[in-house]
């Protein structure tokens, strides 16, 4: 009897969590499917009386959302490619080096997680201004590279440490050169780790807001977060339907990547946290 009551209690708890986590999402989708008439009604309902898909069309065409989505895609992809290109060799070198460089890197990885971005953003703003990279997507991409690199490096290093060194030694005994070992032994084994780090970089850059807010001024260079935030002005919410539709659309890329990434991200975090 008591056991059954306990089980019912657990289900009740789970349901509360489901509502808390899920209801806001349902509401967002619901608003994105409502027509203007229905949004003006004073008795809003969760399930729209009429499903209207026009908000999605308006969001894509009218509000410059497509343009900012392209900007976001450009910076996120650019950052991802650069991070992979520089993080993999660096991680390899760092796991093979036992020196002050490695200690220094570890300290930097930790510090870069602790320091408030506000401290870094002012000098970064000044530096980019000197380099004439302010208000440019290229400059923003560079900032994202440096900003996501610590965690990406951490992830790739975690994977590298788990690779048995004997494999490399065996290849060396078989007469393979250094480069050959890296290309045909290390890299294929490292692929899952690199994919995970790449996805992490993409999502972080796609979702980022603060750096973009400070570094980008022109409206045609805005990223998707900036454009959407701009519609939530001081004057309150305007054009709710298209805003909600845009919000739903902007979530999709990171959601898709995240579905793949989640398992690896946690195990990476744990490997660093527990055993590190």
């Amino acid at each position: 009897m008591r056991r059954r009551a306990g089980r019912a209690g657990k289900y009740l708890g789970l349901c509360c969590y489901l509502v808390f986590l899920g209801f806001p999402l349902l509401w967002l989708v619901s608003v994105s499917l409502k027509g203007e008439r229905e949004l003006a009604s004073i008795h809003p309902r969760l399930i729209p009386r009429h499903f209207v898909w026009d908000n999605y069309r308006v969001a894509l065409v009218d509000q410059g959302l497509a343009r900012s989505a392209l900007n976001s895609l450009q910076t996120a992809l650019g950052a991802t490619i650069i991070v992979v290109l520089i993080a993999v060799p660096a991680a390899y070198a760092l796991t093979r080096l036992r020196s002050a460089v490695r200690t220094g890197t570890t300290v930097w990885i930790l510090l870069s997680q602790v320091f408030p971005t506000i401290l870094i953003i002012i000098p970064v703003f000044l530096i980019l201004k000197d380099l004439h990279l302010l208000n440019s997507l290229g400059g923003l991409t560079l900032v994202y590279v440096v900003w996501t690199l610590p965690f990406a490096l951490w992830m790739v290093m975690g994977y590298l440490r788990n690779l048995p060194r004997e494999l490399e030694e065996a290849a060396a005994v078989d007469g393979a050169g250094r480069l050959r070992i890296i290309v045909s032994v290390v890299l294929p084994l490292l692929a899952p780790g690199v994919v995970a780090a790449a996805m992490f970089t993409f999502i972080s850059a796609w979702n980022e807001f603060f750096f973009a807010l400070v570094l980008i001024q022109d409206s045609d260079k805005r990223t998707i977060s900036l454009t959407l935030a701009n519609y939530v002005g001081a004057e309150g919410l305007i054009r709710l339907g298209p805003l909600a539709a845009g919000a739903v659309l902007a979530t999709i890329p990171s959601l898709v990547f995240f579905a793949f990434l989640q398992r690896r991200l946690t195990s990476g975090l744990l490997a660093g946290a527990v055993k590190g």
């Binding site: 986590l21 660096a90 390899y92 002012i122 440096v146 440490r161 935030a229 989640q262 527990v274």
Partner: protein, 313 residues
């Protein structure tokens, strides 16, 4: 992991003396070359800004062209000391950070324990727990604004339907309720990541520990206290300190939700410093605020982490 590498390191060190130092240096050559592409942007846009950011707090730097910057020592900090607006904001930041981190932890622990049981609908909860984590903070803010909006939101209509009141609440617009509401939304955002991490920690606890305790007659609560909690401690320490730092540094969510209003009731230190730097152009003053924030985060971490990590053994 570190043990493994440490062992490997000491073995290598023992065999080290056979090689001449010069050869070792040459062997490290290509590795340093591999580091170079990462090192240049990091030095330029992370290490140098970090140091310069700390230094700027001791100058009178301002935005604009041809502005001379001079070293002013602790002047900015002296000014900060008498800036009651900043300390108000600091207080709000501490309330926000501690409340979100603590509530997040308990909510996440509850959900993780439920997900660790063999319940139906578990897959749904797991999936839902991923979405807030993946969403851009700006979108989360927009979504909650739509939900809590006095006219188009569902909150007031629900209140009316349940006959709990007149349904004219404007939670984000009233000074008294804005901060608690923002905190609740902060919990919603950060809970999933904490849940998934704690769940992974729970699943790593060896089953036979629980079985042994059960054989010894330990009930559910005592098994939780004496088996689960001690085993989970390292994970708890890691994730709560990360949460603390992330929450303290969070910006986008509150910026879009309330922009610090109404009447400064949700003006987190990050927002305050942002306005100071990029609204008024007082770079030096804003950097001094950031310095104070860094010191605070470090103090909390120093007070918290060693004790947590010690209780592990």
């Amino acid at each position: 992991m570190s043990q493994q590498t440490a062992v490997r390191g000491s073995v290598a060190a023992a065999s080290g003396p056979q090689r001449s130092p010069r050869r070792r240096l040459r062997a490290a050559g290509p590795e340093l070359l591999l580091l170079l592409p990462a090192a240049i942007p990091v030095l330029l846009l992370s290490v140098y800004p970090l140091l310069r950011g700390v230094y700027l707090g001791f100058t009178d730097a301002k935005a604009g062209y041809d502005v001379q910057t001079t070293f002013v020592g602790f002047d900015q900090f002296g000014r900060l000391l008498h800036n009651s607006l900043f300390w108000d904001s600091f207080r709000i930041g501490l309330i926000w950070t501690f409340s979100v981190t603590i509530l997040q932890f308990f909510a996440a622990l509850g959900l993780a324990l439920l997900l660790n049981e063999n319940l139906r609908l578990r897959w749904l909860a797991r999936t839902l727990a991923l979405i807030p984590w993946a969403m851009p903070p700006v979108i989360v803010a927009i979504m909650w604004k739509l939900l809590l909006d006095p006219t188009v939101g569902s909150l007031n209509e629900s209140i009316r339907l349940l006959h709990l009141g007149t349904g004219t609440l404007n939670l984000l617009g009233a000074p008294g309720s804005a901060l608690p509401t923002v905190i609740l939304i902060g919990v919603w955002v950060g809970m999933p990541q904490t849940t998934v991490t704690l769940l992974a920690g729970l699943q790593a606890i060896p089953r036979n520990l629980h079985e042994a305790a059960a054989v010894d007659g330990a009930g559910v609560w005592s098994r939780f206290r004496h088996v689960t909690l001690p085993q989970l401690m390292p994970v708890i320490a890691a994730i709560t300190s990360l949460d603390f730092i992330w929450n303290f540094n969070s910006f986008g969510l509150v910026y879009v939700l309330t922009a610090g209003g109404p009447g400064g009731s949700t003006l987190l230190p990050m927002l305050f410093a942002y306005h100071e730097a990029f609204g008024y152009g007082n770079f030096g003053y804003a950097a001094a605020m950031a310095d104070v924030m860094v010191i605070l985060v470090m103090l909390v971490m120093l007070a918290y982490l060693p004790s947590r990590l010690r209780s592990r053994t």
